[in-house]
């Protein structure tokens, strides 16, 4: 009897240093939330969501480097029956390969210059190793290999680990650059808006955010520009889905504070007014809520913003995955270097 197919997942060693594991291989959903970074938590959730959709239960291999070949690899193979694919969730400092499997990489915590530099260093040191990968998940990094840019195929995963998210209310943006606490207070006192109200705007630009993205200097400049443009075009709407990871755990404040700080630090002047067409959602909107809108929705993935591409995907009535694939294709056609959704 053939074993059910399984997806293997590995994570950076530094993320494992604060947690105690019970074995080298275990169901990925058992990776403790405490002790790992929010960015990794999001990435694992995203992979778990898709492994569930693909009906390939995910197993986490704590340190694939322990099993480079021979008897150790056989030992591992006995514990992972049915595994054909491995994704190395990477911070850019190392990419783990498991011999005999289809290896992929998922760079998860980029968005700040340091991590990108770490990856560039790794590429410089071991470009051939990265060339052995089947694809990169949710990024479109061009490897520099023997003097040429080599494109590693992109596998795009929709950032919909929370696609079954409850319907969420929207909050209008207010930014007092000199007083973030006051901005937060004001936002919380303005009546929330039902997402169905978005139908009165066209088009809608929907942007999903992560903490690492909000920390990225390049993103901040784009953020200010986008906000300012929408202030002067009240027929359109701009919706920011704030990082959800800490919403469940710590309340909404850290996400909101990070977002407002990012907007404050842009060089663009943001009017100290309540924006009637710029909304904040504490977590992503549900697929149902987006699908119900009878207006074009442009989903801007974070790295399309990062690289400043000017042709975001425009579609409606499709699933989030299709939006993402369209965006990925668009970004690739524009020869962009980075493309991320998570």
């Amino acid at each position: 009897m053939r074993a059910a197919r399984r997806l293997l997942v590995s994570v950076p060693g530094r993320e494992l240093q604060k947690i105690r594991l019970g074995s080298s291989v275990f169901p990925a959903e058992q990776l403790p939330d405490d002790g790992i970074s929010p960015a990794l938590r999001d990435a694992v959730r995203l992979v778990l969501h898709h492994s569930s959709e693909w009906e390939q239960p995910a197993l986490l291999v704590a340190r694939p480097e322990m099993f480079p070949g021979g008897e150790t690899l056989s030992w591992l193979q006995n514990r992972i029956p049915g595994a054909t694919t491995h994704v190395s969730i990477s911070d850019g400092s190392a990419v783990k390969l498991i011999p005999g499997l289809k290896n992929h990489v998922f760079f998860y915590s980029f968005g700040n210059g340091l991590d990108e530099n770490v990856l560039k260093t790794l590429v410089r040191r071991t470009s051939r190793q990265l060339g052995a990968l089947r694809s990169q998940w949710n990024s479109a990094y061009a490897l520099r290999f023997e003097g040429k840019n080599v494109s590693l195929p992109t596998t795009a995963l929709a950032g919909c680990y929370n696609s079954r998210a409850p319907d969420r209310a929207l909050f209008k943006l207010f930014l007092d650059k000199g007083n973030i606490p006051n901005s937060m207070e004001t936002i919380s006192t303005i009546p929330a808006v039902d997402p169905a109200r978005l139908n009165s705007y066209s088009p809608i630009t929907y942007v999903t955010l992560t903490h690492s993205l909000l920390a990225a200097e390049r993103f901040r400049s784009v953020l200010g520009k986008v906000i300012l443009e929408h202030f002067f075009d009240e027929s359109s709407a701009l919706v920011f889905a704030l990082p959800e990871a800490d919403f469940k755990r710590e309340g909404v404040t850290p996400s909101l504070e990070a977002f407002l700080a990012a907007a404050r630090d842009t060089t663009f002047p943001i009017p100290k007014l309540v924006a009637n067409n710029i909304f904040l959602s504490f977590g992503e909107l549900s697929e149902a809520a987006l699908g119900a809108l009878d207006v074009p929705v442009m989903l801007w993935s974070s790295d399309i913003l990062l690289c400043g591409a000017t042709h975001p995907a425009t579609t409606r009535g499709s699933s989030l995955s299709e939006y993402i694939f369209a965006a990925a294709s668009c970004a690739r056609n524009n020869s962009t270097k980075w493309l991320r959704f998570c």
Binding site: P12, G13, R14, Q17, R20, L21, G22, S23, S24, A62, R63, E65, M66, F67, P68, G69, G70, E71, T72, L73, W75, S93, A94, K96, L97, P99, R125, T126, S127, R128, Q129, G131, A132
Partner: protein, 364 residues
């Protein structure tokens, strides 16, 4: 007609260290093995300068590099001879340069932990080992790996090395006098114990042993654990989590001389090697050479080095650790493993270390 032996120069940079552990010892063993083999005309070189043979031999007799370094630094201009660049050169470790200086070069890869476990190293160390590593491999006619495990990791990370690598297995050579000295020394009187290797780095995985102390089967055992090596700062924080009465089961030896290490291993019942990653794992071979079985993590090079001379466990599983422990403390099983350990250790010997090097030199 006289037979001219092919020449080989060994880059003796590692032997200039004051204290010889790890790679300097590997270098010493390599030179001893090739000397015993006798088929090559051995030379010694550092930074292209030939090092007098008597200086290297003296350092080997002493087991330390300070005098050798002094001798090298004090060579007068007239004494300094550039090595003939056509001489094949073997680096016992990574090259300290980009390579490509000599007509035929080979270097030795001990492990790839800086590449696969960068979180356990400071960036400067990673940069030292990895920044020019690809160039180094390119400049090698052959790259030696100290285990199949290291070879597999090397070929995975650098696929272009395929077909250009060779294994270079080391061996253990306790000084002859240790046995007599040990016999004439007072007995180590701390009861039944196992020696444990590794405290300094997180990858040595001592935390597994500390966690396992609370397992009922291990808590009930009388076995103590003598931990050889520096007491790392991580240990103190983990020790706080275990009950006082179990804490007494751990004995930290600190850094010890080879002779003390010999004595501690010889008086132990077995060795525990919980490390998550090793290029070879020479302490396991040291234990087996003294007839001690090894309880080792199922990782990297351990199965090929320890073979049937030990028992393996998942390096993250306290349960598997406890099961392996129960097996190895059983007298009948321990006796069976001890015999296998001794036999396994004997397959790592000087002729085996010398053979691939001689083959490489003679192939040119």
């Amino acid at each position: 007609m006289t037979n001219v032996k092919p020449a080989l120069a060994i880059e003796i940079g590692p032997m200039l260290e004051d204290i010889w552990t790890g790679i300097p010892v590997f270098t010493r063993r390599l030179i001893s093995a090739l000397t015993q083999d006798g088929r090559l005309d051995l030379r010694f070189v550092h930074n292209c300068i030939e090092i007098p043979m008597d200086a290297v031999r003296s350092a080997m007799a002493l087991g330390a590099g300070s005098f050798l370094r002094e001798r090298y630094e004090q060579l007068t201009m007239s004494e300094r001879r550039i090595l003939d660049l056509s001489t094949p050169v073997l680096y016992p470790s990574t090259k300290s340069n980009l390579g490509g200086i000599y007509a035929r070069e080979a270097s030795t890869v001990h492990d790839l932990s800086t590449l696969v476990m960068p979180e356990n190293h400071v960036e400067a160390n990673v940069a030292y080992h990895m920044d020019h590593f690809e160039d180094e491999l390119e400049s090698n006619e052959l790259t030696f790996a100290i285990s199949q495990s290291t070879d597999a990791a090397l070929q995975s990370a650098f696929p272009n090395t395929a077909g250009r690598t060779q294994l270079l297995y080391q061996y253990v050579d306790w000084p002859d006098e240790f046995e007599v000295l040990d016999r004439n020394s007072p007995t180590i009187d701390i009861g039944r114990y196992a020696v444990v290797i590794g405290t300094v780095e997180p990858r040595k995985n001592l935390t597994l042993l500390i966690d396992a102390l609370s397992h009922p089967d291990i808590a009930a055992s009388e076995i103590k654990f003598v931990i050889i090596g520096k007491r790392g700062w991580l240990v103190d924080s983990f020790l706080q989590d275990i009950p006082e009465h179990l804490r007494g089961r751990l004995i930290f030896s600190g850094f010890v001389s080879d002779f003390i290490k010999y004595r501690l291993i010889k008086a132990a019942e077995f060795m525990i090697f919980p490390s998550m990653y090793e290029g070879f794992g020479i302490p396991a071979l040291e234990a087996m050479s003294l007839g001690k079985p090894v309880m080792a993590a199922m990782t990297s090079s351990f199965p090929e080095v320890i073979g049937e001379g030990g028992i393996y466990f998942d390096p993250f599983s306290v349960t598997e650790f406890a099961e392996a422990f129960a097996e190895i403390v059983s007298p009948s099983r321990a006796a069976e493993l001890a015999a296998k350990a001794l036999k396994q250790s004997s397959i790592f010997n000087p002729p085996r270390m010398a053979a691939p090097v001689v083959e490489w030199v003679c192939s040119g």
